[in-house]
Symmetry: none
Subunit: 218 residues, 4 copies
DNA sequence: GATGAATGAGTGTTCATTCAT
DNA sequence: CATGAATGAACACTCATTCAT
């Protein structure tokens, strides 16, 4: 997908990237603490280590910062997931691995995910669709993983079920990020990964053998 | 739980309630449209049908409005769920019914849920814990439903599994509300309810007979 | 002509007028001193005797202040000129009287005229045509005075000459306002009025009979 | 008159002149379009064909650019008028020629004149008197032309009348520049020149003999 | 001499909150 | 109780100017 460009006055691309990285890092910390709206551009500049004037050499509006943050998050997550997809297997193990990886990234990037999750709606009508599309792409990665398993005969799932389960995985990943105040008291990340995967696959594998329904009938 | 009081200058309790209802109704519409931060107190007053001066007779700060909105939403949802719990059954059907009901409420109150979901973090350190506690109470209702099923022998689940699944149900309910831009294209509410329930229970029921795990072991 | 409305948040029309009068008065003084661009809205508010917040209850943008100033100037000048036109004479004396009156107003409103003259171009594409139209109306008043004299046989002038002379009168009036740094050293207002009128009419009357110069010599 | 110096860091005088010419040319175009205040130094630099850093090698403040522009305009106009004065005649025709020339320059340099006219007041207390003096010098040229005619017996005018008429000529010239939105619809430049000259001289000649109107009638 | 990244004081504008009527 | 005019702290954003390279 085409990158939605955020205009900078400074020409040196390397410098732009460096400054934006500083910016994003500072902004995430602030947004996490006080949210996008309660954070001022001056605070962002300060956290990034430069002046307000310099901040505006690299963005055009405050919203650009938010967009840059969201974009960077998705980039990181996508990159990680792509690695799992690269291994062309279609086995249950590769699926499990993908899920575990995703949950792990969500754990590592907890701050960023939280921010993104609560602030996307603040994006303009211009940037929102772009970010949403990125999200769909990530869901699509899980659809891909699931489809491969189905094609491999490891799972029996309808198209719609694949889509729903992909969404579930995605949301459960985010859930670990933004409900950690509740979940952390109950589970370690490893437990969470294991238990969610188990629930997911036990329900889903059951469909392979039709055995699930038996007790209900019996 | 103790109600966290929002102070009003007006003494007449009935009037206070009436005005706040007007206020909440107007505020939800506005928050849904433009979010808490982009909505001004003047707009809230106008949408509520009275002047800015009057608004401040019934609240102390803008944040009070948000708190009132959140509180009202939870009240509505809780009330609805309590009805399901009231019927002391512990059958799978009653669980299914509870889930369906919850998803339905989430659908009906989509606007409110969305608002609450994206704006809670804007609550002060004072109000946030109170709202979070309410959320825990709702999750606890599902734990209760699940526990009864386990006690009734309809399901076999550990304590931790109950808690996780309760969270899952809750999050999937919210998911219908705030991911509807993606889900609505794939499922009707009925399909969504049916499919999610199926996945949830097939995984979970499988545990009753141990049949699910077999393929994994084999 | 339709008044171009400047929107106010305050409803009480009388109050709006009062506050705007304060505002205009303060603004003219400031604009005269430092020009529109170098004057801050805060300064305008202070000069008007209220806070910056209050200022913005009566206008929407800084430019509104400029428009209000221009509008008010034209209103004052027009009003004064209308009185001269009201007396339906068409004599040379009535023309002289009109010119003298105009120059006098320009003298009295020197500050305002200077401001308007130097700052109109700062008006937006929205307000500018409206102000220009007002200016044309004022020129038209002199055309009217001149036309009556021609109809009365007091002067012999072509259509085009009437238009040009009307413009000349208008510009000479302004000239007294914005070139006073040079003119004041040479003439009193009375002298200026007398001499300009003489030049104007001697040239113009001369066309009728050539008699003009005679009485002066005699 | 002493040139008011604008300090430059660069020593090479030829280069300084070259860069400033580029600068003035670009600045006039921009000032005409958006006025002095709405034009940024960056825009000026860009229009001039070099960087902001370079711009500041040749001026000290933004205001210097305005001064340079004004100065350059007067230089051009003066130069042109000096040519007319050089021919030491003192005839009515030479006066007419001078007026026509001035109006023509005002037409050609319309953009510049407009700019200068509307922005002089933005000059600092330092530069303003200098520019005003230049203006007086130009008025003085017309005084000179008129005085010669009087000395030659072609006109009969008092000192004060000479000064006033010189001002009138000057202002009517500018008027063609900054009121062209109104005048262009009524007159061509040629018509304007002819009609203004006629009015001016008929009034003024009339004083000599009262004969002015005669030829027209006869 | 030329460049352009960095700076931060300053600007127009908004909006939660108060309080006299 | 209700109103809405008044307030001013706070904010996003701009731009003239500097200076290290």
């Amino acid at each position: 997908m085409e990158k939605r460009e955020v205009q900078a006055s400074v020409k040196d691309e390397r410098l732009v990237q460096k400054r934006r990285d500083q910016m994003i890092k500072g902004a995430v910390a602030l947004f996490k603490q006080k949210g996008f709206h309660r954070t001022t551009t001056r605070e962002i500049a300060k956290a990034a280590g430069f002046s307000i004037g310099t901040l505006y050499e690299y963005i055009r509006t405050k919203e650009d910062v938010l967009y840059l943050v969201c974009d960077s998050i998705y980039d990181h997550v996508s990159e990680r997931l792509q690695e799992d997809l690269a291994v062309e297997k279609g086995t249950l193990d590769s699926l499990k691995h993908g899920i575990a990886d995703f949950f792990q990234v969500m754990d590592e990037m907890q701050a960023e995910v939280l921010v993104m999750y609560q602030e996307v709606k603040s994006l303009s009508k211009d940037a929102l669709p772009y970010v949403l599309k990125k999200e769909m792409e990530m869901v699509a990665m899980f659809e891909e993983l699931l489809t491969r398993c189905v094609e491999n005969g490891e799972l029996t799932l309808s198209e719609k079920q694949i889509e729903l389960i992909a969404h579930n995985i995605f949301v459960q990943g985010q859930m670990w990020g933004f409900r950690r105040w509740a979940l952390r008291r109950l589970f370690t990340l490893e437990e969470y990964i294991e238990m969610q995967t188990e629930i997911l696959l036990s329900g889903v594998q059951g469909r392979v053998s039709g055995a699930v329904a038996v007790p209900e009938k019996g």
